[in-house]
Amino acid sequence: MTRFLLRRLFGAAAVLVALAALTYLLFYAMPGDPALLACGKGCSADQLAQVRHALGTDRPLVQQFWTFLTTLVLGHGYSTGPSTIWCSAPCLGYSYQSNEPVTQMLLERLPVDVSLALGSAALWLLIGVGTGLFAALRPGRRRDRITNAVVLTLGSTPVFIMALLLLMGACVWLQVLPFPNYVPLTEDPAQWAQNLLLPWLAIALVTAAGYTRLTRAGVLETLNQDHIRTLRAYGYPERRVVLRHAVRGALPTVVTVAAMDIGMVLAGAVFTETMFGLPGLGKLAVEAASTVDLPVVCGITLLAGALIVVANTVADLLHAALDPRVRI
């Protein structure tokens, strides 16, 4: 276990450094000069050079990248003008555009994605596992086929179309909900839930399909396994066979995939955030990319990559915890 975690940690660090390098390279190659943007309208050549120097974008790429890495591990001092402030590790640097420490910007956005991920995960698990079971109980019958068709349709719907339909349906036609406007949980839990309901639904509806299939397939597969025959041979009631034992067989996969999916949503849900105007990481990422805000872009990529890696590790741990046969 410790060895597994250490190995994972090591692997993750390597992946993340590679990721950061890739991002740096990519955005370095991007047209558009962050200094020019920061400098604004009517910026003279001299001034531009000064701004470049202030941002540090006048140095060679490798040097910039190295600073980025050392800053991440050791922290870095930033001149605000009259004074220098210390950005302590893990420091992702200072945004070119909004003059804020990137770490802080990300931490401000993360709660949105956490809210989004956890809420939608609860919903999609409920919907997915529920319908999966519903379909698995009578495989091949009409309700199985209908569930299958519905789930396939929902699962194939691009999330922005789903979001659009939900917005128009709930806010424009039926007017049962106001237009979502994110409210932090700490501020007003009821408002928080109400405003996130549609985003949760949008993600959950398009994601649940996968879980319906996983659950259905998992339950059916387990029901076909020999040990289920043993249970039947010892007079276990069918309900118990399905609900306790067959579901148990489908559980590790469902939970593992859920962990990975949650990681993905945590790392930013661009469309959902854009459609519902949620101030999350995904939206920040798109904005930062369009303003060549390299520190922010790198910070998000790293955080997103880290979240995905962590989610994968958690998925493996959960898999091991749920399946006694798997050792790590």
């Binding site: 890739l22 396939l152 699962g155 691009p158 659009l164 128009m168 993600i203 990975m260 990319a289 995905i308």
Partner: protein, 343 residues
């Protein structure tokens, strides 16, 4: 006992091993089985129709008498935001699906021309993903321990990439003079090959342990020949099935990027591009939104249905003997469904 007396009682074709029927009989057999499935037939026909529409777009638009880029100012009401005059977004005998608000371009023509981009990009991207995925997966699966370790790490890295975000960045990086549809295809394939590589690698590892592959090794066949003659045919089923799954994902990805305004350049139309300008018009001109949205949905659904049907047609229950624990873990760990769709 003489050798010709081989038909001993127990050697009937119904021996237990005979139950496991591999997907033999070649592509014709699969097609026949696909056709036999109700869903498969519907999906296949729909897909065929859509492909046909894309191929004959100029002819179809000509049939209507319109082209996708001509403005029709006279059909718009300039005082009300440039919305089309007439019911259902200006549906008429000249404009079968009405016209686009603020420009008056013909929606039907844009839709059928858009099919070329949407499908073309998706198909191109899928082919790219397949080629890359097969190359990496096969090399990792059949190559030396080092090649495998290296390629597996690269695959891990590719899987950890926030793909969607990277495609946004890449679309911004590459000069605008580079043909956009081609770029979209390249980016989608460059970022999306990893799941295929992983599947191919895992399957290759499993197949490599199959005794018929071992027998082929013993004949002195080289790696390349083994890959081509023994492994690849065994990959047809999982890869074909996965292809049908990623293709609609690529359609959605292209639509998504175009939806965010990063896809094709004007005046080219694609379904995502049409949707992106249409969303705000929902209340005033619902037809404008529904036309591309439903087309996209039907298309994705048809491909998804095809994938589902292919899975059944190829019989997924083919036994998967796994020897090493690593292989088992990888096989047991499904590819996250998130790579399906950027949310």
């Amino acid at each position: 006992m003489t050798l010709t007396e081989t038909h001993a009682p127990a050697e009937s074709a119904a021996s237990p091993a005979g139950r496991e029927r591999p997907a033999g009989g070649g592509p014709a057999g699969v097609l026949a089985r696909l056709w036999a499935l109700r869903g498969g037939r519907t999906a296949l026909v729909t897909v065929a129709v859509l492909v046909l529409v894309a191929l004959t777009a100029p002819w179809l638009a000509g049939l209507e008498g319109q082209d996708p880029n001509t403005f029709h100012d006279t059909l718009l009401n300039s005082a009300t935001g440039g919305s089309p005059d007439g019911a259902f977004g200006g549906v008429s005998a000249q404009h079968w699906l009405g016209v686009e608000p603020t420009t008056g371009r013909d929606l039907f023509a844009r839709l059928v021309y858009g099919a070329r981009v949407s499908l073309g990009v998706a198909v191109g991207a899928t082919i790219g993903q397949l080629l890359l995925g097969l190359l990496v997966g096969l090399t990792a699966g059949l190559g030396s321990r080092w090649a495998d370790a290296l390629l597996s790490r690269v695959t891990d890295l590719a899987l950890a990439l926030p793909t969607f975000f990277f495609s946004i960045a890449l679309l911004a990086v590459v000069p605008q003079s580079f043909p956009r549809p081609l770029l979209l295809g390249l980016i989608l394939s460059g970022l999306g090959w990893a799941p295929i590589a992983r599947i191919v690698r895992a399957e290759t590892r499993v197949l490599r342990e199959r005794e018929y592959v071992q027998a082929a090794v013993l004949t002195g066949a080289g790696n390349w020949r083994i890959a081509r003659r023994e492994i690849l045919p065994g990959l047809v089923a999982p890869v074909a099935t996965y292809t049908a799954i990623v293709l609609p994902q690529n359609i959605v990805a292209e639509a998504g990027l175009s939806f965010l305004g990063l896809g094709v350049r004007p005046p080219t139309s694609s379904w995502g591009q049409m949707l992106s300008t249409a969303t705000t018009w929902f209340q005033v001109d619902p037809a404008y939104v529904l036309v591309p949205a439903l087309t996209l949905l039907v298309c994705v659904l048809a491909f998804a249905g095809l994938g589902e049907a292919l899975r059944v047609a190829f019989d997924p229950k083919a036994s998967v003997p796994v020897r090493q624990r690593r292989a088992r873990r990888e096989a047991a760990r499904p590819v996250p469904s998130t790579k399906d769709q950027a949310r």
